[in-house]
């Protein structure tokens, strides 16, 4: 369970987040939808303690992320699938994660199977991976410690249609088994396909939130989204 409570973040004079409040309940997938630059990544960085909020607080399981002890075993996080050392193999990336978390080596093989990377691919340096492969690796890394909460920033970027379907089924399965999933996206259709709740954000403010089916009140999610973000910058998404 994730809770943002009146989180504001002023960075270099810019209000990147403005009184952001929402919760992510277990057993569902919440889509965090907004145009590029709306503050999605900033909010997620605040949540996992990489960035300090100017005011307000974000908690996981009712605790600040930094107070979770060995957080990787409780919260799976993927912030940027591109943030990898190009000279390190995919298997080694998972191995480092598993060692940090205190998991057996066998977990690495299980995760590779789960995300569909072959043994040969896993031995190659990630510098040669496509964005889709990096996303699969990053999602696998987030799942290493069998966390009850997942935080994924734009995990569908670079995935092909089969990949998106795979991600949808994976997240559905995790949510059904009680996981709280928060994923960000700037693409409406992705969120419609994958999420059952949606939090719309623009210029650092929460514009609307509710269930994917109920939010529009008859209108499509796209109409609602474009209406709400029409006055925000870079709303072409």
């Amino acid at each position: 369970m994730i809770e943002f409570s009146h989180v504001s973040k002023v960075y270099r004079g810019v209000r990147a987040l403005d009184d952001v409040s929402f919760t992510v309940e277990p057993g569902g997938v919440t889509g965090f939808l907004g145009p590029n630059g709306a503050g999605k990544s900033t909010a997620l960085r605040v949540l996992v303690g990489l960035s300090r909020p100017t005011s307000g607080s974000a908690t996981v399981y009712g605790l600040p992320y930094g107070g979770l002890g060995n957080p990787g075993t409780r919260v799976g996080v993927l912030l940027d699938a591109g943030a990898l050392h190009p000279g390190r193999s995919g298997r080694e990336v998972l191995r480092l994660g598993a060692t940090t978390l205190g998991l057996p080596k066998a977990r690495v093989g299980e995760i590779l199977d789960l995300v569909g990377l072959t043994g040969q691919e896993a031995r190659r340096p990630v510098g040669g991976y496509s964005l889709g492969m990096r996303q699969r690796l990053g999602i696998g890394h987030a799942l290493l410690g069998r966390p009850g909460t997942l935080v994924l920033d734009e995990p569908a970027n670079g995935l092909d249609p089969q990949g998106i379907r795979w991600l949808r089924e994976l997240l559905r399965h995790l949510a059904d088994s009680g996981c709280a999933v928060l994923l960000s996206s700037h693409l409406i259709h992705e969120v419609e396909q994958i999420a059952d709740h949606v939090v719309m954000i623009g210029r650092g403010r929460v514009l609307a939130q509710g269930s994917v089916d109920g939010l529009g009140g008859g209108r499509s999610l796209e109409e609602v989204f474009l209406n709400l973000t029409s006055d925000t910058d870079r709303s072409a998404a």
Binding site: G49, L50, G69, L79, L84, G87, L96, G102, P125
Partner: protein, 243 residues
């Protein structure tokens, strides 16, 4: 709530030094250069154990600090800090775990140089039919290891302060060069270098002739070139926005 034990962080940070392509290449270069320089010197200078062991140090003085710089700055140049500090939000623990392994590498490298120098000395003596010189001043080898540990620590400290590999490497290398110029600028320059040049201050360590005054001068250099930049860097990282 169980936290991550420090030895696991230490293990992970040690693996990170060697598990990338660049890390493997740098390690291979370090090994090859050690063997080549020790054997080469043996052929020219004759079978003298202490001289041959010390020859490996010429490369160590440059390569070990570079290794340390890359170990620290890699997290920023490739933005893996995002993952590292998400798995262990207590950043100073990670930094401590990052600081130690390169120092151990410096000790291992010194022992390795000795291990290469022993057979090299024996073989050169046998081939040339001259008596081998096995004498090594008693404190010289630990002193040599300590010297490389300190130079390596300087690399880590500058890496931590700048979080930028090229900048840290250039500062490390020019620091040495700058002081060799300063030490030649008359009496004032010589005294300045004695007190503030880490390379100069570690000299008595390597020869095993440390006096009380030397120790104070060494402590001054260590404070200035290792403790201060490392502390400032750690403070900066622990407060920074990781992006």
């Amino acid at each position: 709530m169980t936290s991550i034990p420090f030895h696991r962080l230490l293990l992970v940070e040690t693996r990170k030094i060697f598990d990338t392509r660049s890390g493997k290449v740098l390690t291979a270069v370090l090994v090859a250069l050690t063997v080549a320089s020790v054997v080469g010197r043996g052929l020219v200078a004759g079978p003298r154990l202490f001289t041959l062991t010390g020859t490996a140090g010429i490369g160590f003085g440059i390569l070990l600090p570079v290794l340390a710089v890359l170990s620290v700055t890699g997290e920023w140049s490739h933005r893996t800090a995002l993952t590292t500090f998400t798995l262990e939000p207590r950043r100073t623990r990670v930094l401590a775990a990052k600081f130690l392994p390169p120092l151990a590498v410096a000790v291992v490298a010194t022992v390795f140089a000795l291990l290469v120098a022993v057979p090299a000395t024996a073989v050169v003596a046998a081939v040339r039919h001259v008596p081998a010189d096995w004498t090594v001043p008693p404190l010289a080898l630990p002193g040599m290891a300590a010297t490389f540990v300190l130079l390596t620590a300087m690399g880590s400290a500058f890496g931590l302060l700048s979080l930028n590999a090229p900048v840290a490497i250039v500062v490390c290398l020019t620091n040495t060069m700058l002081w060799s110029v300063v030490s030649r600028l008359g009496e004032t320059g010589r005294v300045l270098a004695e007190w503030f040049d880490l390379g100069n201050a570690t000299g008595p360590l390597a020869t095993g002739t440390m006096t009380g005054g030397d120790a104070v001068r060494l402590a001054t250099s260590v404070l200035l070139w290792i403790a201060l930049p490392a502390a400032l860097g750690a403070l900066r990282v622990s407060r920074a926005e990781i992006r």
